[in-house]
C-alpha cells in the first residue's frame, strides 16, 4: 500500500519557491530519510504532508487529502517536530489524560510502560523537564499511538549523544514494524544510515536523489586511492574527490565495484559523503563548506 503519494507538489512563499513540483512515493513499511541543506524545502514538504500548510499539486497521505482532512488524518499519523512543542505548562499526567481522551488509537498503558523506563515523574510539568526528558516524554506518547505514519522533523536536535542513540534504538526496537512507515529529516545523517530503508536528497525545492538503501549501496563506491593510482582512478570519472591524510578519496556513481577494488580500498560511502558530492557540486551551493 502507498503511504504518501505526491505529484507536482509545489509551494511558494511570496516569490520564494520552497517546493518546485516534486513527485514522491513512499510505500508502507519504509523508513525514508529526507536529507537536505537548510532551506531546502524539507520542513515545507513535511508540513504539506501533515496538513499544516496549503499547497499546489496533488498529495495523498494514507489516501487522504492532508489540508482538508487534517483531523481525520491525525488518527493515523504521528509527528515530532524539530523543537520541543509539548506545552510547557502541561503535567505529564495531563498529557496522558488528554491523549487518552481525544485519541482513538492511544494506548495509555503502553505510554506508562515507556515512561516507567525513564526518570520522568507523572506530576512533573514539561517546563521542569530537561530537553532530553521532554523528547523521551514525547516519544513515549507517540509510540503509544498505533499510527501508520510517523513523521520526525529533526527529532534529536540539541540532544546529547546518549539520548540520540537511545531515541533511534527505542524507535526501532519498540515501535517500528513492517506495517508502519517512518519519515525522518535530520542533519545527523551518520546516526540514521543504518536505520533507513530509503533515502531522498532534496535541495532548493527539487529532489536530487531518491533511492532505496540497497540501490545506494550498490550504486555508490568510495575508493581510497594511493597517490600512484589516483590518475587511473580519475579515468572512471569520480563525482567527488577529497584528500584525507595524503590519500585521495574518490567517490564513484554507478561504476563496477570489482574494477575499483583494484585501485585501492573500495567501500560503501557514508550518506554524508554522497550528500556533499551530490548537493555540494551544484552551482550556487557552498561546496566544501558542508564538511
Amino acid at each position: 500500500m502507498t503511504c504518501i503519494e505526491a505529484r507536482g507538489l509545489r509551494k511558494t512563499y511570496g516569490t520564494t519557491l520552497a517546493l518546485d513540483g516534486i513527485d514522491l512515493r513512499v510505500e508502507e513499511g519504509r523508513i525514508l530519510g529526507l536529507i537536505g541543506p537548510n532551506g531546502a524545502g524539507k520542513t515545507t514538504a513535511l508540513n504539506a504532508i501533515l496538513g499544516l500548510t496549503p499547497y499546489q499539486g496533488e498529495l495523498r497521505v494514507l489516501g487522504r487529502d492532508p489540508w482538508n482532512q487534517r483531523d481525520q488524518l491525525m488518527c493515523d499519523v504521528c509527528y515530532i517536530a524539530d523543537v520541543a512543542v509539548l506545552p510547557r505548562w502541561m503535567q505529564v499526567s495531563q498529557a496522558l489524560d488528554y491523549l487518552g481522551g481525544v485519541h482513538p488509537r492511544f494506548d495509555r498503558a503502553k505510554a506508562e510502560g515507556f515512561l516507567a523506563k525513564t526518570t520522568i515523574r507523572r506530576s512533573s510539568k514539561v517546563r521542569e523537564l530537561s530537553k532530553g526528558m521532554v523528547t523521551q516524554l514525547h516519544l513515549a506518547l507517540i509510540m503509544a499511538i498505533d499510527a501508520k505514519l510517523l513523521v520526525l522533523d529533526e527529532p534529536t536536535l540539541g540532544l546529547d549523544l546518549l539520548y540520540r542513540k537511545q531515541f533511534y534504538d527505542s524507535l526501532l526496537n519498540d515501535y517500528f514494524d513492517r506495517s508502519r512507515t517512518v519519515l525522518v529529516t535530520t542533519h545527523q545523517v551518520e546516526e540514521i544510515q543504518n536505520v533507513l530503508t530509503d533515502l531522498m536528497f532534496i535541495d532548493r525545492g527539487h529532489i536530487m536523489l531518491s533511492c532505496s538503501m540497497e540501490e545506494f549501496e550498490s550504486r555508490y563506491v568510495e575508493v581510497a586511492a594511493p597517490p600512484d593510482q589516483v590518475a587511473a582512478a580519475r579515468a572512471f570519472r569520480p563525482i567527488h574527490e577529497r584528500q584525507v591524510l595524503g590519500r585521495s578519496i574518490l567517490l564513484f556513481d554507478g561504476v563496477d565495484r570489482q574494477q575499483l577494488a583494484t585501485l585501492g580500498d573500495a567501500r560503501t560511502p557514508s550518506i554524508a559523503d554522497v550528500f556533499v558530492a551530490v548537493i555540494g557540486n551544484q552551482p550556487g551551493s557552498a561546496q566544501g563548506a558542508a564538511r
Binding site: G51, A81, V85, Q94, G101, P104, R105, K117, Q166, D174
Partner: protein
C-alpha cells in the same frame, strides 16, 4: 534503557481492528478541561476575589462598621451582598477578556500549536471549546463562587449577630436567597455571557491573528471607528454601543438602572424582551462570523 531487544517486532495485534471513534462531545469536554489546565486563572482569580471580599466583609461585620445604618433600614441588609456580586461580575469580565486575548495566541507563541495540530482534534472543536469559556464556563463558575461566597457572608453575619445576643430572624427574612440566586444566574447568562459574546469572539479572532500585542490590535479598530464617527458626525453611537455590550447592558437590564439587576422588586425576568431584541440576534450573527474567521485562520496559522 531498552530491556528487551528484538530488532523487528511482530506487527501489533490490534492492527486489523478498526479503533472506536471518539464521540465529538468527549473530545470537546477534554478540550474544555485542557483550557482550564492551561489557564488556571479562570477559577483562581474569582476564588481569590471572593476570598478578599469575605475577609473584608468579616472584618466589617465583626467591627460593626455600618451596623447603625443596617438597624435603621432593614432593606439595606442586601447591599453588601449585591456589591459582592457586582465585584464578582467585574472579575468575570476581566477573566474573560484576558482569556480570549490569549487563547489562540499563546499556543502559537510557545509553538505548542504544532503538538495540538498533531492530534485528531479539528480546528472547529478547538475554537468552539475556547469560545465556550467566556460563554459558559466563566458565567457558571462566577455563579457557583458567588453563591458560595454569599452563603458564607450570611453565616458570618448570623454568627456575629448571635454572638452579640441578637436575633438572626430579621436578617434571614430580609434576604430572599432563592430569588436572589435565580436572578443572579439569569443576569449572568444574559447580560454577562450572551450579550457580550460577540466582543469575546472578536477578541478570540484577534488572538488568532496578531503576531504580538493582541490587546492593541483588538482595541485599535474600535478606537478608530469611534474616532472617525466622532469627527465625521459628531456622535458617539459606536462607542456607546461597544460600552453597553461590554459591561453587559442587555435589554433585560433596562428596568433596573444602578441596581445591577439584582433587586427582585425592580427587576423582572423579561425573557421575551431579551429574545426579541434585534441586538441579540445581530450579536449572534457577528459572533458566528468572528468564530468562522477564527477557525479558518487557525488552519493557516503556525508558530510565530
Amino acid at each position: 534503557m531498552n530491556t528487551q531487544a528484538n530488532p523487528v517486532p511482530e506487527p501489533s495485534q490490534e492492527q486489523g481492528v478498526a479503533p472506536a471513534t471518539i464521540p465529538a462531545t468527549q473530545i470537546f469536554r477534554w478540550s474544555l478541561r485542557r483550557e482550564l489546565w492551561e489557564n488556571r486563572f479562570i477559577y483562581m482569580a474569582p476564588l481569590a476575589v471572593a476570598g478578599a471580599v469575605l475577609v473584608a466583609f468579616s472584618v466589617s461585620s465583626i467591627l460593626g462598621i455600618g451596623e447603625a445604618l443596617l438597624r435603621l433600614v432593614p432593606s439595606r441588609h442586601r447591599m453588601p451582598y449585591d456589591m459582592a456580586a457586582g465585584v464578582m461580575m467585574l472579575t468575570s469580565i476581566l477573566v474573560s477578556v484576558f482569556y480570549c486575548l490569549d487563547a489562540l495566541y499563546s499556543e502559537r507563541r510557545d509553538r505548542s500549536i504544532l503538538f495540538w495540530k498533531s492530534l485528531p482534534v479539528s480546528d472547529v472543536t478547538i475554537v468552539l471549546s475556547k469560545a465556550a469559556i467566556p460563554l459558559i464556563v466563566v458565567p457558571l463558575l462566577t455563579f457557583a463562587i458567588t453563591v458560595a461566597m454569599q452563603w458564607i457572608m450570611l453565616l458570618v453575619s448570623s454568627a456575629v449577630l448571635l454572638a452579640s445576643g441578637q436575633s438572626v430572624a430579621m436578617l434571614w427574612r430580609s434576604l430572599p436567597l432563592a430569588s436572589m440566586w435565580l436572578l443572579l444566574l439569569y443576569h449572568l447568562a444574559t447580560a454577562h455571557a450572551i450579550w457580550p459574546f460577540p466582543i469575546y469572539c472578536w477578541l478570540l479572532l484577534v488572538s488568532g491573528w496578531a503576531r504580538r500585542a493582541t490587546f492593541l490590535w483588538a482595541a485599535l479598530p474600535l478606537v478608530v471607528i469611534a474616532g472617525v464617527e466622532g469627527i465625521m458626525f459628531r456622535t458617539s453611537h459606536f462607542a456607546e454601543l461597544i460600552g453597553r455590550r461590554f459591561i453587559g447592558d442587555a435589554p433585560v437590564m433596562k428596568m433596573a438602572p444602578g441596581s445591577m439587576g439584582l433587586d427582585p422588586l425592580t427587576t423582572q425576568v423579561t425573557v421575551d424582551r431579551f429574545l426579541t431584541s434585534p441586538g441579540l440576534w445581530i450579536g449572534f450573527a457577528m459572533a458566528a462570523a468572528f468564530l468562522a474567521a477564527a477557525v479558518r485562520l487557525r488552519r493557516y496559522q503556525g508558530p510565530i
